[in-house]
Point group: C2
Chain length 237, copies 2
């Protein structure tokens, strides 16, 4: 389904609910594409940085990597296992359905933010990897309308908060290396899905979740609410 | 569809075709599940180690990480960009359809090995991450029969070359940290898919592709061919 613009809902409230960082980064690219092509299913696999666990997480990765390179055994206090040169397929606690809370946040918040039904099929695998900052995500969407990749690029190029980095001939695609410290979420590797044919799109995003996923997002939501008039009456009161 | 056992095909040839390492690792878990529940679609996102590029790849990651931690800029010769604390969503060359050759190998070889039709929907996003050894993969399969997770665990527990590591209550799941140096591919995080309902399963694998994905696999295929009689006549000749 192609949902209504979320801004209409936002006007009803004076509270800013800042989404989970993984969801926020993914939806910067997903929302323009959902509006263009409609949405039947979303599947996401994440490549999440140590910074998701704050400064202690980043320090633990850096310090542990040094220890590992010197032949020692890295300690782990912030993460369930040592993260240097490892992959940990768990972020937050496990739920009864086998998904973690981080994964369910992507499901719950994507439905909520995009105005999709409570049982809309969204699935995530949230995975911690040994990067310092910027989360990356593989996203696959089954669409309602046939996908045109040139149109998808146009839509994303015009979208606010998105930087289209999609020139595979010149090896340009999203990476933490380039997304770190940037306000905009990098989106690229756009292609028609081999599992959903004309009705599916696959792509890759990388975004600095210390910016887009946290404080910056709250400020931008607040600004948007002022600009669209939602906060006007309060400012006058 | 639930395909025929691949061993019947193998008997027709005396050549051992060793699959791509990413495909080999994923199929260790996928094949028993395909036989049990049937298969309509496969979606894979990979977390591939530097060792996929051989010793130069592993050295470049280790050396570059040291340089990075000392405040320098890592060089890159083997990889398209510096890999330390980065993510590179490209392995091998780009094809006309927007997928890389590594991604298409997963599509082509999964179809071939599992005896699935030439247009069977299999899709992969192949991503290089800063780990030394052992590839990890998020795998999502739409099935023909309803999925029972307890049955899926039983099937994988009995499968050759697979180590079931699926005890989330005790934070046991597949990781490069534990899969490295092991012959068996670790499989865990088994759960019903939120996008395919009763007809879908999601899971995570981690396997040492220097073993399972390469020489060990060729030896095991050869042994299997001797054991099932395919190479008997040649040995006598």
């Amino acid at each position: 389904m192609v949902p209504e613009i979320n801004g209409k809902e936002t006007k009803k409230s004076k509270l800013i609910a800042n989404p989970n960082c993984t969801t926020a980064i993914g939806l910067m690219a997903l929302w323009p594409l959902i509006q263009k092509f409609g949405c039947k299913r979303v599947i996401m696999s994440t490549y999440q940085a140590a910074s998701g666990a704050g400064q202690p997480g980043m320090d633990e990765l850096k310090d542990g990597t040094k220890v590992w390179l010197e032949g020692g055994s890295p300690e782990n206090k912030t993460f369930a296992y040592p993260l240097p040169f490892n992959v940990i397929p768990q972020i937050d606690k496990f739920q009864d359905n086998g998904y973690t809370k981080e994964e369910m946040k992507v499901t719950w918040e994507t439905r909520k933010i995009c105005g999709l039904p409570d049982d809309f099929p969204v699935s995530c695998s949230a995975v911690r990897i040994p990067t310092i900052r910027a989360h990356s995500e593989v996203i696959i969407m089954e669409t309602e309308k046939p996908v045109d990749i040139a149109e998808a690029r146009k839509v994303l190029d015009a979208a606010s908060g998105v930087k289209l980095v999609d020139d595979t001939a010149n090896l340009k695609y999203p990476m933490p290396l380039t997304a770190t410290g940037q306000y905009d979420v990098e989106v690229g590797r756009l292609r028609k899905s081999l599992v959903f044919g004309d009705y599916g799109i696959e792509f890759f995003v990388s975004g600095d979740q210390l910016l887009r996923g946290a404080a910056l997002n709250a400020v931008l939501v607040g600004e948007e609410m002022v600009n669209n008039g939602a906060l006007k009456s309060k400012a006058k009161a």
